[in-house]
């Protein structure tokens, strides 16, 4: 069933047991993003130190795709340099806009390749990107903050 290509086991796992969900007290920046067409929201805290993403924590309401994607993203970028995580994000964005033509590089994207199926459902791509956009925004703010 086509649905299984969208809702892979990995995604449902992350959805039911999201990683790094629950806002930490420490943070260098906090952002709040919404998806205006459905009302889904994410609040995301980031800590950056020496150019490395040392922590991500988040909270929010959203569909399985947005929750899982944010959970997977958090796992992926924590411990990476900001620059590296942007590279991962570029790969992920490409995958999302591939309309089902790409599978994604598991070495780079790890669990996020499970989201490849989302790219066949244009209306859901925004869901998958919500947490990533929040991360990007937060990282920019954290860096700006640290440069003050």
């Amino acid at each position: 069933m086509e649905l299984d290509s969208l809702y892979q086991e990995v995604i449902l796992d992350h959805y039911k047991h999201p990683h790094h969900k629950g806002l930490s007290n420490e943070k260098d920046a906090q952002v709040h993003h919404v998806n205006p067409s459905c009302g889904d929201e994410v609040t995301l805290n980031i800590s950056v130190s020496g150019g490395i993403v040392t922590d991500i924590s988040w909270d929010g309401v959203g569909c399985s795709i947005s929750q899982a994607s944010t959970s997977i993203m958090s796992e992926l970028v924590i411990g990476k340099t900001v620059a590296e995580s942007y590279r991962v994000m570029d790969h992920f964005s490409q995958l999302m806009s591939s309309k089902g033509t790409l599978k994604g590089d598991e070495d780079i994207l790890e669990d996020a390749v499970a989201l490849a199926g989302v790219s066949k459902f244009p209306a859901r791509v925004k869901c998958a990107l919500l947490g990533w956009m929040a991360f990007k925004d937060a990282s920019v703010q954290a860096i700006e903050e640290s440069e003050k």
Binding site: M1, L3, Y7, L12, C38, G39, D40, C63, S64, I65
Partner: protein, 418 residues
Amino acid sequence: MKTLPLSAVEIKGDFPIFARSMRNEKPLIYLDSGATSQKPRSVIDAQSHFYEHINAAVHRGAHLLAEEADAAYEGAREIVANFIGAQANEIVFTKSATEGLNAIAYSFGSAEKGSRLSLGRGDSIVVTEMEHHANLIPWQQLARRTGATLKWIPITSEGRLDYSTLEEIVDSSTKILAFTHQSNVLGTINDVATLVAAAKSVGAVTVLDACQSVPHFPIDVKALGVDLLTFSGHKALGPTGIGVLWGTSSILEEMEPFLYGGSMIESVTMTQATWAPAPRKFEAGVPNMAGAVGLGAALQYLSDIGMENVHSWEKSLTDYALSEFAKLSGVSVIGPLTSENRGAVISFTVDGIHPHDVGQVLDQHGIAVRTGHHCAWPLMKKFGITGTTRASFYLYNTISDVDSLIAAVKSAQEYFKV
């Protein structure tokens, strides 16, 4: 199975889109008419016919085509007027209900200081807590621009207006009372008579958002007693890009125009202009002529079937759907639980499954619903939710469509193991 007031199966045959298939080769079960309706063959053909045989700019030409285009366009205006019990010169064609509501708000905003329609500090505009953004944000902005205050009538947990607050909220400061006839989320049909009486008692102008009512049950503007009313053609089997603004002759005469340009003027110099009488003064530019003609064909189609029949058929569907929903566990309907004063729009939430994910599973079964906040975000917040899944019915839906919906909701619960 009950006897049907009309044969929805036969009606489906009038709508070409039902010949297509959806994902997994499933037939289309269209339950998103609250967002936009499908179009019968006669509407599609009326538009094509206009372009193939008549097309010319109305109001302007000195030739046979322009004459015929004028007759077609003004003929459509007559059909609209008859459909809602109005006079033709009270019918203004807009691009949508959204434009109609903004036009009213802008017009009031340009009213001369001191005139009955002008607003300022100390005045208030009243809406309800269940409004679509289109009948909320224009008033927020008008309030902001004029210094007036925006107030609203709250809703009960069942999704009805709390009429007990009316006396307190609609007071001598109230200049405008704008409300929806039927909620696009809850299905609630508001008590127009009570609201109009409250407005009249304080001399406020009433504006009715009839987007979800004109397509679904018989409307007589005179009986409703409101001053202004607006709806979109595309939700009433008509083409996209055409809507209607109706007002009493007297309020249309009082109102300032909204869009300025060709065909709405009486005379023009480089420095000033005067206006043609309504409806002309509200229709600047070359209008959506084919759209108006298509809307005429749509309302004609509905009249031929009879709006009483449409209404009672939708009522049967609602009754049946509500009773089937009541049997589901883990599913809550947001809005009134009986079909009394309630339209064929059913919003629901499924425990443990986000509306997006419900919608996705339904889509796999060929069922088209809408998910999210339905452009009524404050209403969602009121219910403490981010969104719902909404099934909205129309004359082409059948009892078997309801059965498919219920079965698909169950399958979503199974799929997500909730």
